[in-house]
């Protein structure tokens, strides 16, 4: 028996919505065959990004979708908001940089946890962060993180 996962855009407006996002990411990661460590990393990363969307972006939504590349299975998450956007993305990715009440580890920390990370933002244009993680077969070298920055 297999249940196919359909892409679902989840609204994020509050801390309670973050729980639904974490749950959806966890389910997708488990279905893609991720190890417990990689499930935990992906769920933590999306929690950081979705919280950013709530705190800095005034709310937004999160798209959770299973992806496949050849025989590799993965999960892609797109977190977008229509907030003020980020003027200096490099600075926002720097550890310790914070405009809110956090530790300033959210964006940079999330980037370190996943395989693929891309951020698109500009002042007044909102912010969209796309992350992906791939199930890694035992014995294979983990895929190096890849960073794309567009602004």
């Amino acid at each position: 028996m297999s249940v196919s996962t359909r892409p679902a855009a989840l609204p994020v407006r509050s801390d309670v919505d973050l729980m639904a996002v974490r749950e959806a990411a966890r389910t997708a990661a488990a279905e893609a065959g991720f190890s417990l460590v990689n499930q935990t990393k992906l769920v933590t990363a999306v929690s950081e990004l979705a919280r950013n969307a709530v705190v800095h972006g005034g709310g937004g939504d999160v798209l959770v979708e299973p992806v496949q590349q050849g025989t590799r299975r993965g999960v892609r998450l797109v977190v977008s908001d229509r907030g003020p956007g980020i003027a200096d993305i490099d600075e926002a990715l720097t550890d310790g940089h914070t405009t809110g009440h956090g530790l300033g580890l959210g964006l940079g920390g999330a980037r370190r946890l996943v395989d693929d990370f891309a951020i698109e933002s500009a002042p007044g244009q909102g912010t969209t962060v796309t992350i992906a993680m791939w199930a890694t077969a035992p014995g294979l070298t983990p895929i190096r993180p890849r960073l794309t920055v567009r602004s």
């Binding site: 935990t40 530790l103 920390g109």
Partner: protein
């Protein structure tokens, strides 16, 4: 669930944090622990997180703040039972739980706070060990 229960065993508070927490629940816990510590006679706080599958930077910060609050109020904090996957994630994110000591289990956390909770041997074993 609106509140996480805080148990008291002698001078130690025991908090079992379980499942996925809404931010508001974590903040309420911080306030409740502060109140409980300041009510008097508390020298230690154990935060058992063995039932927590995700610690993001927000929850990590709240745990750190609980340790800092308690320290100012005269009690030391031990975070017990962090899951291996959570530990790996925290290290890769660069998040440290400053100010809180850590222990593998609730039992070793209690020992760190000076409370011996080792179970007494069963009567038959106790008899053979104690000898004549």
């Amino acid at each position: 669930m609106d509140r996480i229960p805080i148990l008291r065993l002698g001078p130690v508070l025991i908090v079992s944090v379980q499942g996925d927490l809404a931010d508001a629940i974590a903040v309420a816990l911080r306030h409740d622990v502060g109140d409980a510590v300041s009510s008097g006679g508390v020298t230690g706080v154990v935060l058992d997180v063995s039932g927590v599958a995700i610690v993001d930077s927000y929850l990590g910060r709240v745990l750190t703040e609980i340790a800092a609050d308690s320290s100012l109020l005269g009690a030391s904090t031990v975070v017990a039972g962090i899951k291996p996957a959570v530990a790996i994630t925290l290290v890769e994110m660069g998040l440290r739980l400053d100010g809180a000591r850590t222990a593998r289990s609730l039992e070793s956390a209690m020992a760190m706070l000076g409370l011996d909770v080792t179970l007494s041997p069963a009567p038959a074993v106790a008899a053979s060990e104690s000898g004549p």
